[in-house]
Amino acid sequence: MKRIRDVSPFVLMLVLVAVLWEAATTYLNIPHYIIPKLSDVFLSLWDNRGLLAKHAGVTFGESLLGLAFSIVFGVLAAVWIEASGLAQKTLYPLIIASQSVPIIALSPIMVMWFGYEIWSKVAVVILFTFFPIAVNTADGFRSADAGIGEVLRTMGAGSRQLFLKWKLPSAWPGFFTGLKLSATYSVGGATLGEWLGGESGLGVYTKRASNMLRGDAVFSGVLLLAAMGMLMFAAAHLLGRICMAKRRERT
């Protein structure tokens, strides 16, 4: 029962959006090539369900793989930044720079280094997703309760122990906030990666559909991508909930 009540506003909202969409495209004279009718999108979705499932699987795989790497790299970067003032002054600015550099402008480099296989897409996903994890985790480290660190230090804890028993657990909430962002971005990263060159995935599907001027097919891909983004976010959110179920920072 509680489950149902939890989910029903969301379902209602979806229905509402769907109805509005259908009504707007039917009655408001919005051309189908700008926004297709939702019913057409669903038709296209259904007609191509097998194909879409395949492409969605590819994109999902790239997102997950990239995100997994990002978790490792993001946390490592945060640790490094936290551990070394030098890294903070040298590595951090480079990381930041990497985030405002337009990937599309550098796509030849990506292709040169990673080829047209899955790795170039994973690389884009990593570039898209490790930054929020790194920044949130680093800020999490910095927000650690100094008093706890002091107690551990008097017990003779070395920097490794301090890190493992104090900084790391303190950064969990920050990490999970970052993970939620990154999980969402991973889908967009995979899509962009596929645009830079690829044979399959929803990015390729939407791009080809767009070149064929098939609005319904474009939007069916877009809907799946949106759903995938929500799914990734929800998974990250839930994981955070589970991992921090017992903890409450303060009374």
Binding site: G147, E150, V151, T154, M155, R247, R248, T251
Partner: protein, 264 residues
């Protein structure tokens, strides 16, 4: 430093210590005092005079601005005034953290801590998280953690302030047991003069800020002592002298209670 440390006695030595928080008035000014090996000493001073700061200096958490502190490094059991429990660890894991730091396996650390829980009135709470504890329970977990962390020097910052009379007595008892068994040097902050008299070999009292000297008062009474013996003349006498020292610039010799009689 090493000379003093290996000399065995004193266990803790503070020499010409000066300290001030940036821009504030100094807290300590050329303060010197020693604690002998195995001594139980209570530190008394008004709120805000720098007791906690002194502890953090001794524990090496702050650096003296002048002077030197000789203390057994990394062998300090420090119980902070604020409990500083780790919100992500259960009662058991909080209590056991010191053992883990010492190198024991998590399993063994937990086992040892678990056995002690009943003594601290914490049986059955091992899986609770800190936010599910009462104030006094938190304080006991923190106390337990510092005792388990062990060390030749125990720095206890108001360890029993949140405990009721009964629980407090059993904790005091516990502390004395530990002390008699292992003879660590104990520096103990309390605002309860009775408690200080009951437990300590010696009292150190700060009267004036900035603290440039601590008045020492030997409690020459035999152990074991009890709250009843505190009602005997030597203790009453001692208590009056303590209260006088705590009240700087007050010439009245009748002790604290006399001074404040007429308030409404």
């Amino acid at each position: 430093m090493s000379i003093k440390e290996t000399a065995g006695l004193p266990c803790l030595s503070v020499q010409e210590l000066s300290y001030a928080f940036a821009k504030d008035k100094p807290l300590f000014c050329k303060l010197s005092f020693d604690l002998a090996e195995g001594e139980f000493v209570s530190l008394l001073a008004q709120s805000g005079m720098g007791k906690t700061t002194l502890f953090r200096l001794i524990a090496g958490l702050l650096k003296p601005q002048k002077g030197e502190i000789y203390a057994p490094k990394q062998q300090i059991g420090y119980m902070p005034q604020r409990d500083c429990l780790m919100p992500w660890r259960s009662v058991l894991d909080n209590a056991a953290v010191g053992l883990e730091v010492k190198g024991l396996s998590k399993r063994e650390a937990r086992r040892q801590a678990f056995e002690l829980l009943p003594e601290f009135g914490l049986e059955g709470t091992e899986r609770r998280m800190p936010h599910e504890l009462s104030g006094g329970m938190r304080q006991r977990v923190s106390f337990m953690r510092s005792l388990l962390a062990g060390g030749r020097l125990l720095l206890l910052d108001e360890p029993f302030s949140a405990l009721d009379a009964m629980t407090r007595i059993s904790m005091q008892e516990w502390l004395l047991q530990i002390w008699e068994k292992h003879r660590p040097t104990i520096l103990f902050i309390t605002h309860d003069v009775d408690e200080a008299l009951l437990l300590s070999d010696r009292l150190l009292i700060a009267s004036h800020a900035p603290v440039s000297r601590l008045h020492g008062l030997k409690v020459g009474q035999p152990r074991p002592r009890s709250y009843e013996t505190l009602l005997t003349p030597p203790f009453i006498d001692l208590k009056q002298r303590v209260l006088e020292l705590l009240r700087p610039g007050m010439p009245s010799p009748e002790g604290a209670s006399a001074h404040k009689e007429g308030w409404e």
